[in-house]
Symmetry: C2
DNA sequence: TTTTATTTTTAGCCTACCCTAAATCATAAA
DNA sequence: TTTATGATTTAGGGTAGGCTAAAAATAAAA
């Protein structure tokens, strides 16, 4: 049985995200940027992850995540997202405050803890940022989603997730009144700068830059 | 501001317990036995804890915990016991399963997390083993307690805590039907071996060896 | 195809925490 | 008062995970 340290779990989770779930290859510098550690440190870690066969690593040519690696990454993601739900739903954290704490909590080694937590939370399918929570076998029920800035004029849908979950972005969404679950309609699009105007819950009109709209995912 | 690593927190908590809350001096070997690490490793750690001034350490002569050390130890104990309550009350763990997991959880660095957890749990005053939970200033409301094997024949009281909280002992108590909160009466005492017979909740009679009774704390 | 720029790895060092073996100190016994 | 015993510390080494600086490999440009 493969066991990973906390640091290895963090790297593997980052690699999984960079791999877009296993489709893309990933470079040392990619990982370095994502993890905010120096490329030299990354090289060393990649060698170790390669030896544990959670990635396939060729010196100077980057890496691919393996099937085993995907499974383990999904388990770490599952733990992280369940803790985020706990923090928001039970402890009344706001969605921009949970990432670091959930990261620490997600490294607690106890299988039954996560099962019980999942049950206690009512087997949630999505985390506070709209990201899907893998089940204990690593299966993810994905929803078809589109970027808000790519929707046609007049189309309607529901905000289901955010691409960027930095505190700054999330607080901005809170401020303008956009939230996961909101029903929206595209009222206006400006070709020149890619900005959009949307109507939220048939009530409130919001103007958004392309940058903002490009980080909001909508289910039509 | 003094910050401790997880390992330092664990050592300091052990030292606090060995000090009996600050009354007794503690030797390197005491800590070694409690922490299950070699005396050589303990020496090294004591030097570090001495530099951080959470203990007063004199080479070859043992240590005393400082006021600052007591405060920090009580904060760690608070976190540990709150997580134990969470695991038992919310996640339906049994009281013999929570110690290790609560230990890991208690090292998560987030002040507000503990405040929110405390609030969410309804500001509990005691953990599942009957041990008091210090408040955020480190104040502990102690209850007057007596060892069950030292009670007089015929006296009554309530089980409020256990001295030994090893899984083996706790499971034994579950088996015979003793639990925190149970009302008891001493029905018989055998001078020869120190064993006692108690009546639980005016219903069930339990026979206990001196070893068992000596690890049960009763409020008269 | 050669040179240059960029990426990646290696080498060497650091901190934290643990270990064993050897040295040292304190103290109890002779 | 000397010696022996036991407790404690030091010395040296291991793993994990960082870092910087230098070397090496790849990729891009000339
Ligand atoms: Mn997160
Ligand atoms: Mn999330
Ligand atoms: Mn405990
Ligand atoms: Mn306890």
């Amino acid at each position: 049985m493969i066991t990973l340290t906390s640091a290895e779990e963090n790297y593997l989770k980052a690699i999984y995200h960079l791999s877009d779930g296993g489709k893309k290859g990933v470079s040392t510098n990619d990982v370095s940027a994502e993890m905010k550690t120096k490329p030299a440190s990354v090289s060393d870690m990649l060698r170790k992850l390669g030896e544990k066969e959670v990635i396939e690593y060729r010196k100077y040519y980057g890496l691919h995540i393996t099937e085993e690696g995907k499974k383990l990454a999904l388990q770490t993601i599952r733990k992280h997202r369940l803790w985020e739900v706990f923090l928001v739903e039970k402890l009344k954290f706001s969605w921009d405050e949970v990432n670091e704490v959930a990261d620490e909590l997600s490294h607690v080694k106890c299988k039954v803890l996560i099962q019980r937590l999942d049950e206690y939370l009512g087997f949630p399918k999505f985390d506070p940022h709209g990201d899907p929570i893998p089940d204990e076998y690593g299966d993810v029920r994905a929803r078809p989603r589109q970027l808000l800035n790519e929707l046609d004029l007049g189309s309607t849908g529901q905000i289901v997730a955010v691409k960027d979950s930095s505190p700054a972005f999330l607080r901005y969404l809170d401020k303008v009144g956009a939230y996961i679950g909101a029903r929206i309609k595209v009222m206006d699009k400006t070709e020149f700068d890619g900005s959009v105007e949307i109507l939220v819950d048939n009530k409130k009109s919001i103007f958004m830059s392309k940058d903002v709209a490009g980080n909001i995912l909508v289910m039509v």
